[in-house]
C-alpha cells in the first residue's frame, strides 16, 4: 500500500471492503464499528478510533445512546399504550385526576440518578483528555484559509528546528470539486479507496505508541482540527494556542476535515495523519532534517511523505511509499 490508502494497514478482512446490498451496509455500520477508522458508506456509529483515548467518546456515546433508547422505549411505549387504550372511539371515559405526587417524585429522581452515572463516566473521560503532560513529541498545527501547516517542535526530548510544511487538498480532489468540473468524485481513488476531499499533498507523519502533544492555533480565522479516529476535535483560533494530545496505537492513515466554518473553501481543507512505526518515523524525520539542496526553490516542500499527488510537487525528500 502507498500512503494514499484509506484503509488501515492490512488488519481488516478484505471482504469488509466489498460488502454490497443495503443489509450488508447496515451490518457493516452497526457491527463493523470495531474495525473502521475512516468514514465508510452506510456507517451508523462513531468510530472506536485508534488511540489510547479514543475509546472514551465511543463508549460514552454507546452508553448514552443505550440509556436514551431504553428511556425512549419506556416513554413512547407508555404513550402508544395510552393512545391505543384511552381512545374515545373505544368508549374510553376521561378520568378526573390531574396529579400524583408519588409518581412525580419518582420521575424526577430516577433521571437524576441516571444523569449522575453519565456525568461520572464523562468526567472521568474528560480528566484523561485534559492531561497533556508527559508528551514525548510536540507538533504545532496552524490553520490557514484553506490549508493546514504542521511544524515539528520536538521529539523524544530533542528540539526539531527545520521540519514543517503546508498540507492542502490533493490536486485530483481539487480539480474534481470545481463547479461542473465534469469529473467524477467516485473516480478519486487511491488503492481502491475513495479519497475524494479526504486526501492531502503532504500528510502529517507521526510515530505510533508515542504521546504526541499538539499545540493548535490559526493564522487568519477560526478553524477546527478534527480527525474522528483520534477521538476529538480542537478549535484552531488566531491568537490562542490550544493544547491537546494523542497516542496512536496502530499504524495507518487517518482522515479528517476542518470542522469550523472558515470561509468558502471550508469543505476543502482535509487532514491526513499517517501513523508509522517509531523506526520508520525516525528515518522519515532524519530525511526531513537533511539540509535542502540550495538550488531547489521549494520553500514549503521540506516535504513530508508524498501522497499520490507527488507527481505534481517538487520533491526534495525521497518517497516513503514502502511504509504503506
Amino acid at each position: 500500500m502507498t500512503s494514499g490508502g484509506i484503509g488501515r494497514y492490512g488488519s481488516r478482512p478484505k471482504g469488509f471492503r466489498h460488502v454490497v446490498g443495503a443489509l450488508g451496509v447496515l451490518a457493516l455500520g452497526l457491527f463493523g464499528g470495531t474495525v473502521q477508522a475512516n468514514p465508510e458508506p452506510g456507517q451508523l456509529n462513531l468510530t472506536p478510533g485508534v488511540t489510547t483515548y479514543s475509546h472514551v467518546p465511543y463508549v460514552l456515546n454507546n452508553v448514552a445512546l443505550g440509556v436514551c433508547v431504553v428511556i425512549g422505549i419506556l416513554v413512547f411505549g407508555a404513550m402508544f399504550i395510552a393512545m391505543f387504550r384511552f381512545r374515545k372511539s373505544r368508549g374510553a371515559v376521561a378520568e378526573k385526576w390531574s396529579h400524583n405526587t408519588t409518581v412525580e417524585i419518582i420521575w424526577t429522581v430516577i433521571p437524576i440518578i441516571i444523569l449522575i452515572t453519565l456525568a461520572w463516566l464523562a468526567t472521568d473521560g474528560l480528566r484523561q483528555f485534559s492531561d497533556t503532560t508527559g508528551a514525548q513529541m510536540t507538533v504545532k498545527v496552524t490553520g490557514y484559509q484553506w490549508k493546514w501547516r504542521y511544524d515539528y517542535v520536538d521529539y523524544e526530548g530533542k528540539a526539531i528546528s527545520n521540519v514543517g510544511f503546508m498540507s492542502k487538498l490533493d490536486d485530483q480532489s481539487n480539480a474534481t470539486r470545481q463547479l461542473n468540473s465534469g469529473l467524477d468524485p467516485y473516480a478519486v481513488k487511491v488503492d481502491g479507496y475513495n479519497t475524494y476531499l479526504l486526501n492531502v499533498d503532504h500528510p502529517l507523519v507521526v510515530p505510533i505508541n508515542t504521546k504526541i502533544r499538539f499545540v493548535i492555533t490559526a493564522d487568519d480565522v477560526i478553524h477546527s482540527w478534527f480527525v474522528p479516529a483520534l477521538g476529538w476535535k480542537m478549535d484552531a483560533i488566531p491568537g490562542v494556542v490550544n493544547a491537546t494530545w494523542t497516542n496512536i496505537t496502530e499504524p495507518g492513515i487517518y482522515r479528517g476535515q476542518c470542522a469550523e466554518l472558515c470561509g468558502q473553501d471550508h469543505g476543502f481543507m482535509p487532514i491526513v495523519v499517517k501513523a508509522v512505526s517509531k523506526e520508520d518515523f525516525a528515518k522519515w524525520l532524519a530525511d526531513q532534517q537533511k539540509p535542502v539542496a540550495p538550488a531547489v526553490p521549494a520553500p514549503a516542500s521540506t516535504a513530508a511523505a508524498p501522497a499520490q499527488a507527488a507527481a505534481t510537487t517538487a520533491q526534495v525528500a525521497p518517497a516513503h511509499g514502502t511504509q504503506g
Binding site: P39, A94, L121
Partner: protein, 541 residues
C-alpha cells in the same frame, strides 16, 4: 385622556367599526391585537417559505458528491441566511403572532397593554428582513460566516453592516413585543384570572418574554462590537489588538442559549393546551409544568459554553457547563412525562392538532436525547460541528418549534376564522410532514457520527447514501408544506363548514367562550370567570 376614553366607548358600541377602515388603515395602522397577530403569522409564513427555499438549495447541492449547482461561497450564504430567516423571521414572529392573538383572549383582556407599540414592533420586521435579504443581491453577496457570526470570519463579509443593523431591528422588535406581553399578562388579566389559573401557554410566554428582554440586548451588544471591529478599528475580538475571538462566542452564546429556549418554551405551552383538549382531561401536574418551564428558563442562562466545548475551555469550565446542561434534562423530562400522564386515562381523539402534538412529544424528545448526548463533553468532542448537531437542532426546532406552531394553527384557526379547515388535507399534511421530516433529518445523525462536518458544500462519497436520502426527504418535506398553505387558504376564504364557538369538544378556557370568529374587540367588558370554564380552574397540584 377624556377623548381616548370616549373613543373606546364609541368602539364598544360599534364593533364593526373596523369595516369602515380601508385596507391601509386596517392593516398598516392597526392597533388591534388580532389584526397584528394575523400580520405576524402571515409574515412568518412568508419567511418560512423563503427560508425553506434556501434549505432546498442546500439539500439540492448536497444531493450527491461533487459541486453541481452553486459556488461554495453562495452555499455558505444559503446556510447563513437559512438560519437567520428561520430563527428570526419564521419561528420567533410566529410565536409572537400566536401570543398576540391568544394571550388577550386567554386572560380576558380587551387587547394588548400597549397597542401602538404592538403595531411598531411588527412593522419594524419587514424593514429588518428587507435589509437582510437585500444583501443577496448586492455586490459582495450576503453574510456567509454562519448565523453565529463568529469573528474573524464574519469580519471578512462585505455585508456585515447590513446584517448588524437588521439584527438590531429584529432585537428592538422582539424587546418591544416582550415588554408588551409582560405588561398584558401582569396588568390586563380579568378579575379571577389568578396567575396560577392562567393557561400554560400564557405562562410559557410570560417566562419567554423575560428571556427576550434579558438576552436581545446582549446580542445587540455583540454584533455592535463586530461592527466597530470592522469599521472603527476597535479590537474586541482581535488578539493582535489585545482582544479575543473567543470573547465573541461567550457573549453570543449568552444570548444564543436562552434564544434556543425562546424558540421552544412557547411550543411547550402550545402542546400543554392541545394535549388536554384532545385527551378531554386536565393537564397532569399543572404547577410542575409551570415550574419546569421556569427552571429551564433559569438554567438556560448558565449553560451557554456547551456550544463551545471545543474552543479549549479550562477543565473546570467544561465540567461546570456539562453538569449544568445535563441538569436541563430533569425539568424537560418532567414535561414529557406529564404530557404522557395527561394522555393516560383520557378519552382521546386525533384531529390534526393532536397528531402534530403527539409527533411533537416523540420527535422533540428524540432531539432532547441527542441533546443529552451532546452535553457529555468527551462525546461532544466527536459530535461537535458535525451533522449530528445539525440533526439534533433540527429535531428540536423543526419537529419541535415548527410542529408546535403548525399544531397551534390547526388548533386555533377555526376560532380565528370561524371556519373549519379540511380535516382530510390537514391529515395529509401531517402524515407527509412527519414521514418526510424523519427521512430528512434522521440519517443526518449517522452522517455526523461518521464524521461529516456541518456547513460543507461537498463531501466524500462515503457520505453519499445518507445525503441523498436526506435530500429526498428534504424536497418532499418542503413540498408537503405547500399542502399547509393550501389548507390555510382554503380555511380562510373557501371553507363552507362553520366552526362552533367551542370548536373542540374538550376545549376549556376563556378563548372558547367567545364566538368563532371572535368579535374584532373582545372582552371589552371583563368577563365573569367561572373556574370550571378554565383549563386549570381548580389547581391544587
Amino acid at each position: 385622556m377624556a377623548q381616548a376614553a370616549a373613543h373606546d366607548h364609541h368602539d364598544e358600541h360599534h364593533d364593526e367599526h373596523h369595516e369602515h377602515l380601508n385596507f391601509f388603515q386596517r392593516w398598516v395602522m392597526s392597533t388591534n391585537h388580532k389584526d397584528i397577530g394575523t400580520l405576524y403569522l402571515v409574515f412568518s409564513l412568508l419567511m418560512f417559505f423563503i427560508g425553506g427555499s434556501f434549505a432546498m438549495v442546500i439539500r439540492a447541492e448536497l444531493f450527491k458528491p461533487g459541486m453541481q449547482l452553486v459556488q461554495p461561497y453562495f452555499f455558505n450564504e444559503m446556510t447563513t441566511m437559512h438560519a437567520l430567516v428561520m430563527i428570526f423571521g419564521a419561528v420567533m414572529p410566529a410565536f409572537v403572532g400566536l401570543g398576540n392573538w391568544m394571550i388577550p383572549m386567554m386572560v380576558g383582556a380587551p387587547d394588548m397593554a400597549l397597542p401602538r407599540m404592538n403595531n411598531l414592533s411588527f412593522w419594524i420586521l419587514p424593514f429588518a428582513f428587507t435589509l437582510l435579504l437585500s444583501t443577496l443581491f448586492l455586490p459582495g453577496g450576503g453574510p456567509a460566516g454562519g448565523w453565529t457570526m463568529y469573528p474573524p470570519l464574519s469580519l471578512q463579509s462585505a455585508s456585515l453592516a447590513y446584517v448588524v443593523f437588521a439584527v438590531h431591528l429584529m432585537g428592538i422588535s422582539s424587546i418591544m413585543g416582550a415588554i408588551n406581553i409582560i405588561a398584558t399578562i401582569l396588568n390586563m388579566r380579568a378579575p379571577g384570572m389568578d396567575l396560577l389559573k392562567m393557561p400554560v401557554f400564557v405562562w410559557s410566554w410570560l417566562i419567554t418574554a423575560f428571556l427576550l428582554i434579558a438576552v436581545m440586548p446582549v446580542l445587540a451588544g455583540a454584533v455592535t462590537m463586530l461592527l466597530t471591529d470592522k469599521y472603527f478599528s476597535t479590537h474586541f475580538f482581535d488578539a493582535a489588538g489585545g482582544g479575543d475571538p473567543v470573547l465573541f462566542q461567550h457573549v453570543f452564546w449568552f444570548f444564543g442559549h436562552p434564544e434556543v429556549y425562546i424558540m421552544i418554551l412557547p411550543a411547550f405551552g402550545i402542546i400543554s393546551e392541545i394535549i388536554p383538549t384532545f385527551s378531554r382531561k386536565p393537564i397532569f401536574g399543572y404547577k410542575a409544568m409551570v415550574f419546569a418551564i421556569a427552571s429551564i428558563a433559569f438554567l438556560s442562562f448558565i449553560v451557554w459554553a456547551h456550544h463551545m466545548f471545543a474552543v479549549g475551555l479550562p477543565l473546570g469550565a467544561e465540567i461546570f457547563f456539562m453538569y449544568a446542561t445535563m441538569l436541563i434534562a430533569v425539568p424537560t423530562g418532567v414535561k414529557v412525562f406529564n404530557w404522557v400522564a395527561t394522555m393516560w386515562g383520557g378519552s382521546m381523539t386525533f384531529e390534526t392538532p393532536m397528531l402534530f402534538a403527539v409527533a411533537f412529544v416523540i420527535l422533540f424528545t428524540i432531539g432532547g436525547f441527542s441533546g443529552l448526548m451532546l452535553a457529555l463533553v468527551p462525546a461532544d468532542f466527536q459530535y461537535h460541528d458535525t451533522y449530528f448537531v445539525v440533526a439534533h437542532f433540527h429535531y428540536v426546532l423543526v419537529t419541535g418549534a415548527i410542529f408546535a406552531i403548525i399544531a397551534a394553527t390547526y388548533y386555533w384557526i377555526p376560532k380565528w376564522t370561524g371556519n373549519m379547515y379540511s380535516e382530510f388535507w390537514g391529515k395529509m399534511h401531517f402524515w407527509n410532514s412527519v414521514i418526510w421530516v424523519n427521512v430528512l433529518f434522521f440519517p443526518q445523525h449517522f452522517l455526523g457520527l461518521a464524521g461529516m462536518p456541518r456547513r460543507i458544500p461537498d463531501y466524500n462519497v462515503a457520505f453519499a447514501n445518507f445525503n441523498m436520502i436526506s435530500s429526498i426527504g428534504g424536497f418532499l418535506f418542503g413540498a408537503s408544506q405547500l399542502i399547509f398553505l393550501g389548507v390555510v387558504i382554503h380555511c380562510v376564504w373557501f371553507s363552507k363548514k362553520k366552526a362552533t364557538d367551542r370548536v373542540w369538544e374538550g376545549a376549556r378556557g376563556l378563548e372558547w367562550t367567545l364566538s368563532s370568529p371572535p368579535p374584532h374587540h373582545s372582552f371589552t367588558v371583563a368577563p365573569v370567570i367561572h373556574d370550571e370554564e378554565l383549563a386549570h380552574g381548580h389547581v391544587e397540584d
